[in-house]
């Protein structure tokens, strides 16, 4: 990411005000996501974010005014990406396919954008003070449709019943996000080695198979 910042800054010199703002906002958002992921809202400082973004601190305040404002923007952008990964549940009719693609997409997100997942986790752990609206309206709505999909599959005897469909959904969330949020722990328990791309693909398949079997679908 550092290289990206350097590249963008190097290119500057003859660009429109509009694109300057656009670029800098992206740079700052990326830096903020990284820092917030590590230390949460309270534990992060605007100075840290500025250093990662390689900009003066005043610049961060110029574009986002307050730390809280910047934080909210980060949360919002994560939520958007999150919802994109959630589409499979509504686009596939067969549970085997829907679950396979959804779990796969969530695993991919954990791999490619772990910081976002961590910011989200941090926010929830600290009581979700800045996300209650997102959770109780937008996420809740998606969860409801998702739960009714699962219930339909149960009624059609396509999957085993698990009592409350939420339990199954939460298992998917927890298991997939674990590979982002707890990645440091996983590395340490893997003798200090990060999973290679192909090892991660394998992991993904294993997770998908476990999830499918948990509701009685033979992979």
């Amino acid at each position: 990411m550092g290289d990206q910042i350097v590249a963008v800054k190097a290119k500057r010199g003859q660009r429109s005000k509009e694109s300057i703002r656009e670029d800098n906002e992206l740079i700052i958002l990326a830096a903020a996501e990284k820092v917030f992921a590590k230390h949460g809202l309270k534990g992060s400082t605007t100075k840290q974010i500025a250093d990662v973004a390689k900009l003066p601190k005043s610049n961060i305040h110029y574009y986002f005014h307050t730390k809280l404002n910047l934080y909210r923007r980060v949360l919002e952008s994560i939520f958007v990406e999150w919802m994109k990964a959630a589409e499979p549940f509504n686009t596939y009719d067969e549970p085997k396919e829907a679950i396979r693609f959804y779990v796969g997409a969530k695993m991919d997100l954990s791999r490619t954008r772990p910081f976002g997942s961590k910011v989200w986790a941090n926010e929830i752990i600290s009581g979700a003070p800045e996300m209650e609206e997102i959770l109780s309206s937008r996420l809740k709505k998606w969860v409801d449709t998702c739960v009714s999909s699962i219930n339909t599959w149960v009624e059609l005897k396509k999957i085993n019943s698990m009592g409350d469909a939420h339990t199954f959904l939460y298992m998917i969330w927890a298991t997939t996000q674990h590979y982002a949020d707890f990645d440091y722990q996983l590395i340490i328990l893997n003798n200090g080695k990060k999973l290679t791309d192909s090892e991660f693909e394998e992991k993904k398949q294993q997770v998908i198979d476990l999830v499918l079997r948990s509701v009685g679908i033979e992979p």
Copy 2:
């Protein structure tokens, strides 16, 4: 000094130096766990901890010297309790029983001591800087024995193979700890209502059944 004298002194409002230290350390540790759970190491302040403990800030420093020191003591105490819950995996031979009791114990811990789980999660998310030793030696050791138990069950055809036994173990961790770490999210998605004890018992059973089925055991 006889117990009678101690009792009398206690009645008069006097406490022995030893019990004063013991009591205050416990009070401070409990307060610290609560605060660290919410804001992590960097985001928590000794003043907040002092306020929750209802003691002057200097008192916190008197007993634990530094914030980091107090934080390490909290982590250590959580790890100890965690390992206690982990015993079933070594005391039951049959996977069905071992898994049932282990998952049950972890769910119970999420219910009764959610702050500890959150402190742990926070620490891992922020890169586990204070826990590398605990993770790479003590936790690693337990994981290794656990993995070999699972592998044995696979060889004896008592459970389905999931490729890497770690995948299964991590699924258990993630799913059970989710009920502690993400409790605020669960409450919001449950229309603002916390689960009652009996509802939680039900959830616990559902989780156990999902986990068992994921490796091909009919509950």
